[in-house]
Structure formats: C-alpha cells, structure tokens
Symmetry: C2
Subunit: 226 residues, 2 copies
Amino acid sequence: MTTATKYSSSEIYSDIKSKLTIGKFLQGSKLRAERLRLNYNCSASTIREVMLKLSCEGHLEAVEQKGFRVPMGTSESRTDLVRMRVLLEKEGLKLSLENGKLDWEAELAASYHKLAHIENVIQQSGRIVSNMLFWNEAEYSFHKALISACESKLLLETHYNIYNRFRQQLISDDTNYGFDIRNIAEHKAIFDAAIKRNYPLCSSILESHIDKDLSHRSKLQKVAAA
Amino acid sequence: MTTATKYSSSEIYSDIKSKLTIGKFLQGSKLRAERLRLNYNCSASTIREVMLKLSCEGHLEAVEQKGFRVPMGTSESRTDLVRMRVLLEKEGLKLSLENGKLDWEAELAASYHKLAHIENVIQQSGRIVSNMLFWNEAEYSFHKALISACESKLLLETHYNIYNRFRQQLISDDTNYGFDIRNIAEHKAIFDAAIKRNYPLCSSILESHIDKDLSHRSKLQKVAAA
DNA sequence: AATATTCAAAATCTCGAAATTTTAGTGAAA
DNA sequence: TTTCACTAAAATTTCGAGATTTTGAATATT
C-alpha cells in the first residue's frame, strides 16, 4: 500500500534533478508529466513548473506540445561539456590562486579530506553504487572549493550548472559512474599543487583529470565499433 | 478602446525579455503578475511560466511567495558580467581564429557591415533611442559572429545569456544605452584584427571594448559621489 | 511620537478540469 | 504490401477559481 505523501515543488525539483545526474533516467527517454504527477501526488502545473526549470538549465529538452525528454548524449555534446568545464575551472583556479587566503586553503583542505576519505572507502569496499550520492557531493565540493575564491558569483553559478550537466551526460554504469581508481592520485596531485599555488602544474593535472572520462569513453566506443 | 489581442507564451516571453534588455523596467522594480496578465490577455499560469523562465536565466529574481523583481545592479554584478563576457568572448575568438573558414569570415563581414551601417546612421542623426532595437540586434550579431566558429554550442548558449544580462545591467539612459562614439572605431579595429587572424591584438581590443562601459560607469559614480 | 497589533485588500501559489494537440491503431485504397 | 486517411486515446498546454501568504493602512499600546 502506498501512503499519499505530499511533496513540495522544490523537493520534486531536487529529486528529479538528482535522479537525472546519477543516471536513473535513460538518455533519450521521455518524462511523462501524468506519471510523475501521480508519483509525487501533486498537480500538473507543479510538475510542469519543475520540468520547465530543468529544461531551462539544460537537464531536459523541451519541445513545444511534445513534452520533455532526457537529452541524448552525443560525442559532440560530451566534448563540449568537458571543454566548458576545463575553461571555467582553469579560470576559477587561476583567480583563486591569486585571491585565495587562509580561509580558502582551509575550505579546500576540508573538502579534499572528505573526498579522499570517501574514495578510500569505495576503493576498499568496492561499493560504488551505494556511495554514489556521497561521492558525487564530495567530488563537486572539491572542484567547487578549487575555484571558490575566484570572486565571481557568475562563474560559480555557471560552473555548478555545467558540472551537473557533465555528470548527467558522462556518468553511467558504462563508466563505472565516473569513479576511476586514478582519481585518488589525481585529486591528491591537484590539491597539493593548489596549496603550493603552482598554477601551471595544477591546471595541467586538472585538465587531464576532467578530460579523462572523455578519452575513456571514446576508447569504449572504438571497442564497441570494432 | 483596446482590442483584446491574444498573445502566445513565447511571444510574451520575448516581449518581456526584450523590454528588460533595453531597460524598460526599472532595476529593483517588481513585475506584478496580475497587471501583466491583463496586459497580455492570458492566464496567471502563462505569466508565471514566462517569469520562471526569465528568473532561471538570470533576467529576474524570484523570491518564493513574494514574486519577481528586476535584479538590482551593483558594481560587483556589473564587474562580474564584464569579466564573464571577456572570458567567453576571448575563448570563442581564439577557437574561431583557429577553426574559422571562409564561411565564418563572410558571416563576420556581413554582421560587421550591418553594424557599421547602423552606427553610422546613429552618429549622423543622433537618434539613439529609436534605433536601439536595431543596434542591439546588430551589436549582438557582430559579437556572436566573432565567436561563431568556436564549435561549441555550450559556449555560444552561455554567451547569449551573459550578453543579454550584460545589456540589462549595464545599459540605461545614463550610459547612452550603451552607445559610445568610440564603438565605431573599436568595432572596425576588432573586425580588421579578426580577419588578419591576429589573436593577441584582436583579443586585447575586444577586452577593452567590453570593459569600457564599466570604467565609464565607475567614472560616473565617482562624479555623482563627489 | 514611536512601536505593536489587527485586519482587510492584494498578490502569489496550487489545483483540477477544459481545450488543444499529438500519438497510435484500424481499416480502406492503390 | 505499402500508403494514406480517419478516429479514438493519450498527452500537453491553458485556463480560471480557490487556498494561502504577504502587504499596508488603520488602530491601539507603550
């Protein structure tokens, strides 16, 4: 028996967005408003409002009179997201290395510590799926911390959006949900270089770190095509 | 007597957005849904949908249960918009100079030609306000053309959003609606350098061109404060 | 005079149903 | 067998009203 729990507009938004970013909806699939309305026990307008917001942010594709779909990821769209993340994170890093004070270093250290801990747990236990949400949150926090002293609200907002779209497009069970054993060493190298304020080194590791999922993917595709 | 014309959702969206970007709504003022509903002869939901989209894009500020306002521009938010435009346009320009073929040059030449024509008309006639919409469109087309061969849909989409928010924040009657006599020479210099594929020169002029409104503004503020 | 409180008017948000459009399935014609 | 037209079902979008919350002015209190 299902209890008729009531969800608010923002709760529904967060829930669907999180399901999108961890790959619970298949790319290209349609999100039926009526189904969701019953699921969340709300009106059609509320669901519509949520879907419009998600499509405005690029998490869904809206076609007038034809509803909402999860965008079909292409090799081009993934490359695009990677390049955009690299552009924003490099710029944010450069500015943070210039402007960041002790508070910034402390925030970075804190987020690195959490991320390293979770990655260690995943490596030891092999339980990726059950730690997905924690890892997702921790990885974002770390990358955000790197750029958080850039003193640009706009850069941070744009990065938040692009980072989440990156996850949605690139992360799936094919890619082990974005978790890679090499991440552990890379995150440490990025953290160390950032603390040393070594921009050339830090940005170079950062770039190949973000790029990695892409090259991994195209390798997979070549294998599949062969 | 008023004829009860019917407007579609997307028409209303475009109309309000255009009014925002050319400064027809005062910064900090509230957009009353009921008033707009009567104006556009539609339902409350339709207006709400439009306002939600505009707030998602950063053209309006939404506070739950308290409606929608035109964001109050601050010196920080303007600096932020300028820096973001510079980042995106420099990157787009660099990529376009690398990738752009003859078609790109032709598109750039076409948009430059239109822009130069309109700016000439404005300079001759002094009629800025009546040419606002044309100039607005032409200036965007030119700046878009500069970066249009970057081969990044995401960069172009983000730039479109930031450019419009830049207009909304920086353009008002104080700043002569963004029109400056120096623009004519600057646009020509940017165009010439782009055709010569001279990135260092072109990006440097481009940066000071975008920055100009800001320094002009802070000069105005200093005068006002004195 | 300044601060609180009350209450009605106005505005926002949510709802469920009506209107419109798309989708899918059936059958007729080429 | 394929193509086209028609129709019924399903989905999306728009609507207007009702419920909830905010606002602001008038009154009361310190």
